[in-house]
Amino acid sequence: MKRRMASARAWLEDRTGLPGAIEQFLDEKIPASSGWHQVFGSLALFLFLTQAFTGILLAFNYAPTPGEAYNSLRYILTEVTGGRLIRGLHHWGASMMITVVVLHMIQVFVFGAYKKPRETTWLLGVALLLLTLTYGLTGYLLPWDNRAYWGTVVTTKIAGSAPVVGQYMTRLLGAAKGVGVVTFARFYSVHVLLLPPVTMLLILAHVYLVRRHGVTPQPGDEALPKKPFYPVQVFKDTVAIFIAFAILFTLAVAAKVPLEQLADPTDTTYIPRPEWYFLFLFQTLKLFEGPLEVVGSTVLPGLAVLALAAVPFIDRGTMVKVTRRTVAISFVVLAGIGWSGLTAAAVMTTPREAVAQVDYSAPTDWIQLSPEEMAGIAYFREESCASCHYTGSSLGPDLTRTAIHKDAAWMIRHFRQPAAVRPGSTMPPVRLDDAQLNSLAAFLLKLTPENASALANAPDFAVRGALVYQQGHCAACHMVNGVGMKVGPALNGLSRRQTRSWVDEHFDNPQKLSPGSIMPPYRFSEADKRNLTAYLFALPE
C-alpha cells in the first residue's frame, strides 16, 4: 500500500509537480515569533471561500430581478431543504468576514508589518478591505425587501452627493431615476460577476507578496532559528478557522435573519438603517448638516481611506517590538472608541419598531385564513389546547388530523361536554360562547399536518387583531380573504389604499374621513386598534 502511494505520488510529481509545490508551500520558513496572532489572514481566506460556496448555492435557487428575487428568496427560506441554513451562513458569513478582515488589518498595523518592503502588501490589503465592504453594500440589496430597498436608496443618494463626480456615480449605480431594475442589475452583477474574480486576483497577489517578503519578523527573531509553516502554524490557523466556523454555524442555526415585506417604494413610513458595520458612517453623517453634509457623507470617508492607504508611507520608522508601539496601539484604541461610540449612538437612537412586522422568512399560511379562523387560533392559545394536543402526545389526539373525519357540529358538542360525545374523555369542557366555539371549530377544520407549523407561526398581533375584528362583527359589512359581506369595501389591499394613521383615525370617526359612510365609530383600546390595523395591513392583496 505504502509503495503504491509512493509510486502514485512520484507519477503526479513527474507529470504536474504538484506534490512538490505543496510541500514547498507548507515548508515555508516563518520567524520563531509567529503564532496565534497571525491566524487572521488564513481565516479571512477561509471565510471568502465559504461565502463563495454558500453564494453559489443560493444562486442555484435565486432569480436576480426585483420581485422575483424576493419570491425566490422566500422559496429558499420556506421550502428548500436547508435553505434557511445556507442563507444564514451567507448572511452571518458576510458580517464575520468584515470583522476578520478588520482584525487582520489591526494586527498588521499594531505589529508594524506594513513597513518597508511590505508597503504594496498593505495597499493590496486596503483594496481587499474595500472590496469586502462593497460585497456587503451590493449584497444588501439582493433580498429586495423593504430594508434592502430603502437602505440602497440612502446609499445611492450618498454616492450622488459626492462633489463633482456625484451625478456620474448615480448613473454608474443605475439609480438616475431612483433605485429600480437597473440598480438591481448593476448591484447583482457587481456582487457575483465583478467582485469575485477581482478578489481572487488580489488575494493571489497579496499571498504572493507575503511569500516574497516572508512573514514579518519581530525584533529579536534574527537570533532564533526559523520554523516551518507546517504543521504547527497550519494547526493554529485550522483551530482558529474551526472556532470561527463554529460561531458562524451557531449564528446561522440560532439567529434568525428576518425577511421583511417586499420592497415598497411608496412606503413613506419606512426608516432605513444600514447593516451594523456601516452604522458608524450613518451616525457620522448626522453630525454634519446642511451644506456640510457632503463632508460627513463622502469627504471624511474618502480621506479616511486615503489615510489608511498612506500608513506605510507616513510611518517610515524602523521595526520595533510590538510592546513598544504605543503610538500605533493608541491609534487603534482611539479608532476603536470612536467606532464603538458612533455605533452605540446609532443603535440607541434607533426608533423602536412602532408597528408589528410580519417575518416573511417563515411560512405565512395564516394570512390566507378568514378572520373567524384566525380568532379560533386566539381561543386555541387562550384555552391552552396545545398543552395536551400536540403531535405525539398521549394526553390528547393530534388535532391536525381531526378535520378529515369530524365536522364542526361534532366538535362544538365535544367542546361543550367532552365526555358526553367521547365517553372516557378527560378533557375539561371549553367555556366559550357559541360564536367563540364556532371560531375554534372553524380553525380546527383548516388544520392539516402540512400547514400546522405554518399556522402556529401566526404572530400574536395578527391573532389578536383578528379577534378584535371578529368581536366587532366587522364581517357583517366587510370582506377579508373572500369571507364576509360587501356592504363596505373589501379590506384586502387596504395597505395599498390608505396609511395606518388614516385607518386608526377612521375607527374613531368614520364620517370625518369618508363622508357619507354608514360605518359606526369604534372605540377600541390603543392596543386593540394597533393589532387590528397591523393585521389588516398584513393581509394579502
Binding site: F53, R74, E79, G82, F235, I241, F242, T448
Partner: protein, 174 residues
C-alpha cells in the same frame, strides 16, 4: 526502527507531536467540510417542501349539464412552479352520464395531444389530427389513440361540480 526511536526519546516526542498536529488539522478540516457539505447536498438533492394548496375548482351548478351531451368547460387554475404561482387557462369536457354521475375528460387526445371535439351528429369525440374516435365514456372506437381519454378527479359539493387533478395513467399507477 523501533530501537532507534526508543534510543532517541526526543525524536519520538517530536514525531508524536507532529502526528497530533496532523490529525488535528485533518479532523477539524473534515468536521468543517461535513458541516458545509452535508447541508449543501440536502439543499441540492432533497425535494423542496410543497405548500398544501386547494386544488379543487368550482365549475358551478351540476344541473346545467344535460345527460348525453358533452360540454366543453373553460376554467382557470393556478399551478405552482417553485416560487412562481402561474394562473393558466384549462378546459375539460364534462359528460353527465345517464345515471346522473359526472365524468370530466382532459381536453387532449391521448395520441399526440391534439384538442379533440364532440361531434353531435356522430355522437362521438373526434380528434382532427389523426382521426382518433372516442365513445362518450372516453373509450377508443378507432384511430391511433393508445388509451381512453384521461379523466379529472370530480366530486359534488352542495350541488356544485368540483374538479380536481387530471389523472394521467402514470399518476394512476403512482
Amino acid at each position: 526502527m523501533e530501537e532507534l526511536e526508543s534510543a532517541t526519546p526526543g525524536a519520538a516526542a517530536a514525531s508524536s507531536r507532529r502526528g497530533f498536529f496532523q490529525i488535528g488539522i485533518l479532523g477539524l478540516g473534515a468536521a468543517i467540510s461535513a458541516a458545509l457539505g452535508l447541508p449543501a447536498l440536502a439543499y441540492l438533492l432533497m425535494p423542496p417542501k410543497t405548500r398544501a394548496q386547494a386544488s379543487w375548482i368550482d365549475l358551478g351548478d351540476v344541473d346545467r349539464f344535460a345527460a348525453g351531451s358533452p360540454v366543453e368547460v373553460a376554467f382557470r387554475r393556478t399551478r405552482t412552479d417553485a416560487w412562481k404561482v402561474i394562473s393558466e387557462k384549462d378546459t375539460a369536457w364534462v359528460v353527465k352520464r345517464a345515471d346522473g354521475g359526472i365524468t370530466a375528460f382532459g381536453p387532449q387526445c391521448t395520441h399526440l395531444g391534439c384538442a379533440y371535439h364532440w361531434d353531435d351528429g356522430r355522437h362521438e369525440f373526434v380528434c382532427p389530427c389523426h382521426s382518433s374516435l372516442f365513445r362518450i365514456d372516453g373509450t377508443v372506437i378507432s384511430g391511433p389513440a393508445p388509451r381512453p381519454l384521461d379523466r379529472y378527479q370530480t366530486k359534488l359539493e352542495n350541488g356544485k361540480l368540483m374538479l380536481g387533478r387530471l389523472e394521467t395513467p402514470n399518476a394512476r399507477q403512482a
